[in-house]
């Protein structure tokens, strides 16, 4: 997906604003919005909130999770765990960027928030890189962080593993990159020990 597409989808999330004008309910294709009364908070999609803010017609209220304490907790939690932890919103990165660009005067301690979200993002990117790297190297059926994806791939694994496993052992020795590719079973156990000594592998043992 292009960044512009992702941003477009993120802008459908709802955020609270305090308008300074009054307007009756408006009926849009995506749903109904309003009514708008000056001084009373109302929930609108982010695209409308940003537009109104630029025209000086409202004041944005940051979402609950956009708070220094909460974000610090989230960041620390992310650093402790080896896999992804649940994020407050599926579009937390896009929302942070949009809200801090256009409405940073309505968000207290905006600089710290930006740093914390960036830290969390960096941690998650590092995990992604690490697991993708080992996924490729060890030709695993799935990489650990993607728990949800694992469920999906499990079906494929049980089908393909049976075919590939016997063949792989012969080819590996002739493979020029054989020094980098180690035997599957050996590494599966080593890998397990490194990351999750307790967690049992989720795909078929073959």
């Amino acid at each position: 997906m292009e960044p512009a597409e992702v941003e477009f989808l993120a802008e459908k999330e709802l955020v609270t604003i305090v308008p300074n004008f009054s307007l009756d309910r408006i009926h849009l294709i995506g749903g109904d919005l309003g009514p708008f009364n000056p001084g009373l908070p109302v929930e609108v999609p982010v695209w409308l909130a940003i537009n109104l803010k630029q025209r000086q017609k409202c004041r944005l209220i940051p979402p609950e999770w956009m708070d220094v304490g909460k974000l610090e907790e989230i960041r620390d939690q992310e650093r402790k765990e080896d896999t992804f932890t649940p994020m407050p919103s599926p579009y937390y990165m896009e929302l942070t960027k949009l809200l801090l660009n256009y409405a940073s005067d309505n968000i207290p301690r905006a600089d710290e928030i930006r740093t914390l979200v960036k830290d969390t993002w960096d941690t998650r990117m590092a995990k992604l890189r690490l697991s993708a790297d080992s996924f490729v190297r060890q030709q695993e059926a799935h990489a650990k962080p993607f728990q949800a994806l694992a469920q999906l791939l499990q079906q494929f694994c049980t089908d393909t593993n049976a075919h590939h496993n016997p063949g792989q052992g012969e080819n590996r020795s002739k493979n020029p990159e054989s020094s980098l590719v180690r035997r599957e079973n050996q590494h599966r156990s080593c890998y397990k020990a490194r990351l999750h000594p307790s967690q049992a592998p989720q795909h078929g043992e073959g």
Binding site: Q54, R109, D111
Partner: protein, 569 residues
């Protein structure tokens, strides 16, 4: 007609219409235009922006667009001339004029329907009363006709007596009429004799935004830049400047008080405006302190830096402050922190010893992000030099649009380009001033001083633009006043001429009022130039919105000057 409620009588009318914005070419107009554009964008008003540099361009733009628009907004142009006569508009077109040029033409003031003036009424306008200038001419004619008809139907004796009475009445009326006309001419002459400037248009637009509660920090900054432009170009008195700074200071503290609170302070990227009692040195934070001292009019004139003795005095001045020469010649940002900490107080103390009492001035500065700090006068110099850039990079209006863009915070590269151009311009001005004074090019013609730049002078092309030439002439006058010993010459105004277009053989001429401590900045050269041109039938072009700037053919220069001398002595 004066608009009393800006919001109801101006903004609410145009919010649903398409509007044509005609904007003059000076920084104050640019700032007012920016504020108005921001308001239009909030309310989705459709508008067309046309930059105009003079009356001819104003007329052409009007003729081009008069079929499509009914509402015209004129910024910093149009108040001092009879608009209806020049433009000949239809009955249903409306003009909103936001102009700092004074005196406002009486027709514009007393027209009730088509011309609305967005001007603060507290400005001392001294507009003559309606009855003194306008008289119902139809009444007079009717009376005369009636009296003639009556005299036809009656007896000869009575007829004769009545006829005599009527003749007496008529002569009395005619005499009264002549007296009234003479008085009217005198009043109008007094009113229109001196040109001066009123409140900055950017401040008027900011007031409009404030009344609508749509004022932002950005708009406040543009209002500050507009006011500072008037001060840099010496268009308003010191008193007025200080009063207006006080007004803006209230707005600044209202918008920017959150910075003191540690808990809820704004992101570093948000713009903050701060009031400063800053040094009067041009661009000193983007240049080295030494260069800035050399190229600022105030210091260069007081220390007389065109002479060798002056250079020595500059070294003494720096030594007095304890600033090593090496440090002072470095870029300001790289100077030692220990020197920069108390710089302002140190400079003020030493400056007092050297006779420069007003080295510090009340102004505002803006900062956003970690790197960007600008003072209001920096922006004024940068924008002026961008607007009057002699390098043609495209169609006529690119310079105007570039200068307009540089006022937005997102276009820092244009602003930096403007700062570089401004440095070149200031250096060129100082060098020209130094050469003029050393070669005694400023001569007294009797009622005024005169200086003319020759074609081969370096950087003379920079001075073919009106604002740059005005700046040059003001600096020249200040330096001349400091350098001359003749007491009478110190009180004379200055007329400056520079070649404008070599192929067409035109010269641009500027007249500025004398340089005194308590001058009220009133300029009589506008009318004087007009009269001199008429009497000698010289080929002149009074195109600029300020009447004291004209273009004329090089051949007619000497006879024009002679006429001017005889007119003013």
């Amino acid at each position: 007609m004066f608009v009393s409620d800006c919001r109801r009588e101006f903004y609410d009318l145009i919010v649903t219409q398409r509007v044509l914005l005609l904007v003059a070419s000076d920084v104050d107009a640019l700032c007012a235009c920016k504020i108005l554009q921001a308001l239009f964008q909030c309310d989705h008003v459709q508008y067309t922006l046309v930059p105009v540099a003079g009356w001819q361009e104003l007329e052409t733009a009007f003729l081009e667009h008069k079929d499509q628009f009914k509402y015209f907004v004129l910024i910093n142009c149009g108040a001092n001339v009879d608009l209806l006569e020049i433009l000949q508009p239809e009955e249903d077109t409306y003009f909103f004029v936001c102009d700092s040029h004074r005196p406002i033409n009486v027709v514009n003031v007393y027209n009730d329907t088509q011309i609305k003036l967005l001007v603060k009424q507290e400005d001392d306008l001294d507009v003559p009363a309606y009855d003194d200038i306008f008289r119902d001419e139809e009444e007079e004619e009717e009376e005369e006709e009636d009296s003639e008809k009556e005299s036809d139907g009656s007896e000869p004796l009575e007829k004769r007596r009545r006829f005599e009475e009527e003749v007496i009445e008529r002569t009395m009326k005619r005499r009264q009429r002549r007296e009234w006309e003479a008085r009217r001419r005198e009043i109008l002459f007094d009113y229109e004799q001196y040109e001066y400037h009123g409140t900055s248009s950017a401040m008027v637009m900011f007031d409009l935004a404030w009344v609508m509660s749509k004022d932002l920090n950005d708009m406040l900054w543009w209002a500050i830049v507009g006011l500072t432009d008037q001060w840099v170009q010496d268009k308003i008195t010191q008193m007025k400047y200080v009063t207006d700074i006080g007004i803006l200071q209230r707005h600044v503290s209202r918008h920017n008080h959150r910075n003191e609170d540690e808990e809820n302070s704004l992101s570093i990227d948000c713009m903050r405006i701060a009031f400063e009692y800053d040094l009067r040195l041009a661009l000193y934070q983007h240049w080295s302190l030494y260069e800035s001292l050399c190229n600022t009019c105030y210091t260069s004139a007081s220390l007389k830096l065109w002479s060798v003795q002056g250079q020595k005095r500059l070294q003494e001045f720096l030594a007095d402050m304890g600033l090593p020469l090496k440090q002072v010649k470095q870029k300001f940002n790289s100077m030692d922190m220990s020197l920069k900490e108390n710089l302002r107080e140190m400079i003020e103390e030493s400056a007092n010893k050297f006779g420069m009492k007003d080295l510090r001035v009340q102004t505002f500065s803006i900062h956003f992000g970690f790197k960007n700090k600008f003072s209001a006068s920096d922006i004024v110099y940068a924008t002026t030099s961008l607007m009057e850039n002699i390098e043609k990079e495209g169609p006529e209006t690119t310079n105007f649009i570039k200068a307009l863009d540089s006022l937005s915070r997102g276009n820092l590269d244009k602003l930096h380009q403007g700062l570089d151009l401004a440095k070149k311009q200031l250096r060129a001005i100082q060098q020209t001033v130094a050469s003029c004074i050393c070669t005694n090019l400023v001569i007294s013609q009797g009622p005024f001083l005169y200086c003319s730049l020759m074609e081969g002078t370096p950087d003379v092309k920079l001075f073919s633009k009106p604002v740059s030439l005005c700046l040059l002439s003001k600096y020249l006058l200040k330096s001349f006043v400091c350098s001359t010993k003749n007491k009478r010459c110190k009180l004379l105004p200055l007329v400056m001429a520079a070649p404008m277009d070599v192929e067409q053989g035109t010269v641009i001429m500027v007249g500025i009022p004398p340089e005194t401590e308590s001058s009220d900045k009133k300029n009589f050269f506008g009318r004087a130039f007009e009269k001199a041109a008429e009497s000698t039938s010289s080929r002149t072009l009074h195109n600029h919105f300020q009447m004291s700037i004209i273009e004329l053919k090089t051949e007619d220069r000497s006879k024009f000057l002679d006429a001017l001398i005889s007119l003013l002595s």
